[in-house]
């Protein structure tokens, strides 16, 4: 078998090229080290790459009838080789070899994406933090204090130091909307790229859409409620009744705010459900590699 055939003994490497070559090999080695390749494995891989690059560079220089490999040769070679990051991908992608063929390789079950689990845990953490904060606010309600002269006054209780100590570690939980959404996106990307290693697509989708859905619901409710509110106001004014909400109807058995909020909430809920369904369908198609 014959590889490319430069004159291997005539080519020399300029300092510039040597520096580029070393930098590339160091970068590959760093990536391999990051992904827990052993020293001997890294050495074998990097040595193979070193040999290949030198052979390619020498062949390119030989094409120019040059005895020294120049920077332009390196630039030609550099565009045709894998970037260092590609070695991370391969380190993860390829299953460990065993001696029993395809069947046993398939037996390795994928694990639920850690990102999606972190997202779910952070959601729970956020819920607990929010609940405790609300409890703290309620515990600060004013209390009646009897004065020495016989009078009374009210004071607002300050939160105890113990409460504050409990709350400080809960503060990160308030970032749950951002963290959970980010974890969901990371999990989706991870599962799509390495389906043989990671699973939990449904949980990842849940993490990704949970808080954006709440935001969409809130915005839609605000828009619909405002439209109904001002629409009714306008109709009533046009009919000679100046204010639908403050014209003595306060004694009515049903609060009119509530009456109008219910259809607004229903409309916002249905709209959010439709948006959510479209987003989830698109995500699922993306996950399956189908056109959106």
């Amino acid at each position: 078998m014959n590889a490319s055939n430069p004159d291997p003994h005539s080519a020399t490497f300029s300092d510039d090229v040597q520096a580029k070559l070393d930098a590339h090999l160091d970068a590959v080695d760093a990536v391999l080290q990051k992904y827990a390749q052993s020293r001997s494995q890294r050495s074998a891989i990097v040595d193979e790459l070193d040999g290949q690059l030198r052979e390619m560079l020498a062949a390119k220089a030989a094409e120019r009838d040059a005895s020294e490999v120049a920077l332009e040769d390196w630039e030609w070679v550099a565009v045709s080789i894998d970037p260092p990051e590609a070695y991370a991908r391969q380190s993860i992608d390829l299953p460990a070899t065993n001696f029993t063929g395809f069947a046993n390789e398939e037996a390795a079950e994928p694990n639920v994406s850690r990102w999606s689990l972190v997202g779910l845990a952070w959601t729970v953490y956020g819920g607990v933090a929010l609940t405790l904060l609300i409890l703290l606010m309620l515990s600060r309600s004013s209390q009646i204090v009897r004065l020495p002269g016989g009078g009374v006054t009210s004071e607002v209780e300050s939160p105890s130091r113990l409460w504050l100590l409990v709350l400080i570690p809960l503060i990160p939980g308030l970032f749950a909307p951002l963290v959970t959404t980010a974890m969901g996106i990371l999990a989706l990307s991870q599962i799509k790229r390495y389906p043989q290693k990671w699973c939990g697509w449904g949980l990842a989708v849940f993490d990704t859409v949970l808080f954006p859905s709440v935001v969409v619901l809130g915005v839609l409710f605000g828009v619909v409620w405002s439209a109904i509110f001002y629409g009714v106001e306008m109709i009533m004014m046009l009919n000679g009744n100046r204010n639908f909400f403050d014209d003595g109807w306060t004694n009515a058995s049903v609060d009119r705010h509530t009456v109008l909020q219910l259809p607004a909430m229903a409309l916002a809920g249905v709209s959010t459900a439709v948006v959510l369904w479209l987003v989830v369908r698109r995500l699922n198609r993306w996950g399956l590699g189908e056109p959106a």
């Binding site: 074998a44 040595d47 193979e48 290949q52 052979e55 045709s80 070899t97």
Partner: protein
């Protein structure tokens, strides 16, 4: 060296990825021994293949580690000494098992594809 086509369909990419081990072992069957770049060129000379060094060299290191390949270090005109790979007895046995599995899968899929459309 040609790069993989990014527009390549995912199933095709996955299929080739799953066949890297078989491909590397099979490429070594017909030769006494070969060094990494030589092997890469041998594989990519075949139609339909576009393996890159970041795929093949980690695979060679892994197959050597588990004893399917034997490594002989020899002199190189430039750079570090070359590592010449050859199949061990275990490697040949493993390749035979993989080859049999592959033939069976190939035959099964072929029989499905050859069925007349309803």
């Amino acid at each position: 060296m040609s790069k993989p086509n990014p527009a390549e369909r995912p199933w095709s990419s996955q299929l080739r990825k799953g066949l890297v081990e078989l491909t590397v072992l099979a490429a070594l069957r017909g030769v006494k021994e070969a060094y990494g770049y030589e092997l890469l060129q041998r594989i990519n000379a075949l139609p339909g293949f576009a393996l890159t060094e970041s795929t093949v060299y980690p695979m060679l290191a892994r197959l050597s580690k588990v004893g399917l390949l034997r490594v002989r270090v020899g002199p190189s005109p430039h750079g570090p000494p070359r590592r010449y790979y050859a199949l061990t007895a275990a490697g040949k046995k493993h390749l035979a098992a993989m080859s049999s599995e592959w033939s069976q899968l190939n035959d099964s899929i072929r029989s499905l594809l050859d069925e007349p459309e309803s």
